[in-house]
Amino acid sequence: MAASRPTPEGHPARGEHGYETPRDAPPPPVVALRDVWKSYGAVAALRGAHIELHAGEAHALVGENGAGKSTLIKVLAGVRKPDRGVLELDGVRTEFKGPQDARAAGVAVIHQEPALFPDLSVAENVFAGRQPRGRFGRIDERAMRERAHALLARLGVPLDPRRPARGLSIADQQIVEIAKAVSLETRALVMDEPTAALSGPEVDRLFSVVNALRAESTAVLFVSHRFAEVTALCQRVTVLRDGAHVSTGPLAETSVDRLVAQMVGREPDALFVRRREQRPPGDVVLEVEGLSRAGAFRDVGFHVRAGEIVALAGLVGAGRSEVARAVFGVDRRDAGRVTVAGRTLPGGRPRAAMAAGLALVPEDRRQQGLVLAASVQRNATLPRARQLSRFGFLVGGAERRAAREWAGRLRTRYGDLDDPVGTLSGGNQQKVVLAKWLATAPRVLIVDEPTRGIDIGTKAEVHRLLARLAADGVAILLISSELPEVLGMADRVLVMREGRLVADLPREAADEESVIRAATGQEAPA
């Protein structure tokens, strides 16, 4: 327990920016970090970072992948101890000995990677360690369920509080983490890329919840690579580069271009790719007919032509990832047919799908995409171990070269190819997953949230890469919850709602409104 925390005598109501209390000196920040340094072995993650969180203010923290944002947040959460630096609560210097100190001080943290108890229910996860008690100190299951239900409803996600956390999609896991954090009595709410897997409507709900907390003078820290969200939610922004503080200022006084330039330390390349030249697409390469899986999706059928990018849009829980997994064969299907270039794939056999030229970049990098304990190199070459071996034996040099080449093309930042991939920052882990599958030179590429957690500069690079693959005749199915990505990249937009395919919009007909309308089910687009 942090016994040293002073309890302020109530927080005076403050205006939007927290400085409007007349005549008084501005109150000290709720939480502040000053000149924080942190190294992991030889890697310097933080090199003099600053941040101040003020009551009632939403503060954005931006920076490239590996800039040290998550490390800063782990220091705020008491999870990592800085090598050097000062932590202040209400202007008083203190120290977090562990996460419980941070929690006791009223700092609630949503970490970048959700970490739930797989065998506990959603409700139990939300209230883990602080369950509502009934008579004789017993856990009041009912109250817990009802409160969890209310929270989830407030976040606008129809998730059954009784179901176990095991098997939740990454977006749903994220929602549970959010529910957990916003249900705490918080003075500071710290969120590390909470929206990376969410689509527009869920993000809107989250923001209205956060704004309500802010009105009760909670301080907010928000990390995101989506600048539209940053500007929608925040009043102040701090830029971090290579672990060092670059700038802090009101968001209104800067621009996205300026922020990006500060993040990367140079003039950025074109940030958004909108595919231009439309060659007529080739033959149908991926054909899906009548695909069903009980409890997930029903009667889904579509096709993708060579050189075409088809987006699959929908709300969280619409069944998009489930369709992708069944097509690839990691999940069994109950009915339906999948053909790749005329070859019918047997159900439930990813290896056969790979042999036919299919690749799937899964949504959940930590569970599905990577073996965290294994090295960067081993992960990057895992699906190709056979191709890279000679006479049945692995050739170290060839593997190394292949891993290095793809890591470089995606600007992956790592210490050493032999480092466990789990020590990379979130965005860099995502790049390894992309590299792992792009390197297989697929004919059909299914990418599920390919740019989740990837910084804005590299995101454009990934988009360019996808566009180039399409131009080379690869058929691409793009699942994304980020609407600008969908609209910027896709030749056609398929929309799923509640396990069914409800719209197939050609590029011309696809805009923000028509996609959201189809996804939410408010009267079909004309």
């Binding site: 797989p118 939740l168 569970q367 692995l394 093309r409």
Partner: protein
């Protein structure tokens, strides 16, 4: 497009030059050193230990443990376990006795023993993969079942008098040397298993599925099928060991190799294979086998009782599971305190329990409990 990855870390130049896997510098190396030390100390202090006669016996004793440890290593690396191997040895040995008593020639019996072992292994494999039962429970069950079947076959009787030329060869030595005849085939098998585990895509996939079987399945690795075949191989090797055991002692009995699974698992874990899967080397396991069996041999020569030997095996088993976890925890704690000038040690030789299943466990979030 830039082709070089921006890196900030300074590299360990020696390791980079030698391309040594980092863990070689850890637990495995310690076990190898410990093994050499044990051999040296035992030769110096236990009178009979250093003789060539004892070396021959030591190798004959060590052979079944080493053979069983080979597939066991692969199974544990892939995240499972097989406790039924010693009972499979007993059952195939009993089967040999039964067939020999019925007049079949050994040329037929030995392949049949291997085949029978494979079938018993396949039964384990089916229960683990098709029915998806935990391998610990399944193989504890077949540990009892197979031993029981052995007693059904032979009861308390023993079959002896196997063909002389076979039993002689089994305990005999190469030419006039003290090196037993079984050494070359065993070395061959060790080499094959080491290559499969460390130099082929199959071995690579075993490590992957042991560390995260979901991710392995998403990478197109047929997790279930591979595990099934591992159990078949383990059974076949156990059948071979059954034949060896029978011929070496020239007796088929239902209680042959009873309790040997404990020694095998202890040796594998002592050799640095993580009980949670995903980590280990065959070199370490070979060292673990040599360490454990020569320790037992030396103690036996020093007239330590058989019960005490079991105590030693059990203690080593616990230590080999405990120590890596304790050191990992200590390192993590030290790393939290360490001054920035002294970079904390990287990766522990053994990991803390890795979470399984789709959602990670909360303790993993920070890595520092």
């Amino acid at each position: 497009m830039s082709t070089e990855a921006p890196t900030r870390a300074t590299r360990a130049p020696l390791r980079e030059a030698l391309r040594l896997p980092r863990r070689l510098a850890g637990w495995d190396a310690a076990v190898v050193v410990l093994t050499v030390l044990t051999l040296v100390v035992a030769s110096g202090t236990v009178e009979e230990f250093g003789t060539t006669r004892n070396a021959t016996f030591l190798i004959l004793d060590l052979a079944p443990v080493l053979l069983l440890a080979l597939p066991m290593t692969l199974i544990v690396v892939s995240g499972e376990i097989d406790l039924s191997v010693a009972s499979t040895v007993g059952l195939t040995s009993a089967l040999m006795g039964e067939l020999w008593a019925n007049g079949l020639p050994l040329e037929t019996i030995i392949p049949l023993a291997v085949l029978a072992g494979a079938v018993l292994g396949a039964f384990n494999g089916l229960l683990v993969t098709v029915l998806g039962l935990p391998s610990l429970a399944v193989t504890i069950g077949t540990l009892a079942l197979y031993r029981g079947l052995a007693y059904v076959l032979l009861g308390d009787t023993a079959v002896a008098d196997f063909a002389r030329e076979y039993t002689r060869w089994t305990i005999g030595s190469l030419g006039d040397s003290w090196v037993p005849n079984v050494v070359p085939p065993i070395l061959l098998l060790v080499t094959v298993f080491a290559l499969v585990l460390h130099a082929t895509p199959v071995g690579r996939s075993l490590f992957a599925m042991g560390a995260n079987d979901t991710a392995a399945a998403f990478a197109g690795i047929p997790v279930e099928r591979t595990k099934f075949w591992l159990y078949v191989v383990a059974g076949a090797v156990a059948g071979l060991v059954g034949a060896y055991w029978t011929l070496r002692y020239s007796t088929a009995r239902a209680d042959n190799a009873e309790g040997l699974e404990l020694t095998v698992v202890a040796a594998v874990l002592l050799g640095g294979v993580s009980i949670y899967g995903g980590r280990g080397t065959l070199l370490g396991v070979v060292a673990g086998v040599v360490l454990l069996t020569s320790l037992q041999n030396a103690l036996r020569l020093a007239k330590v009782s058989a019960d005490a030997l079991t105590v030693v095996t059990g203690t080593l088993l616990i230590l080999s599971v405990l120590l890596p976890n304790v050191t990992a925890a200590l390192r993590a704690r030290l790393a939290r305190r360490a001054a920035p000038a002294a970079p904390p040690p990287r990766e522990p030789a053994h990991p803390a329990p890795a979470p399984r299943g789709p959602a990670p466990e909360p303790t993993r979030r920070d890595g520092t409990p």
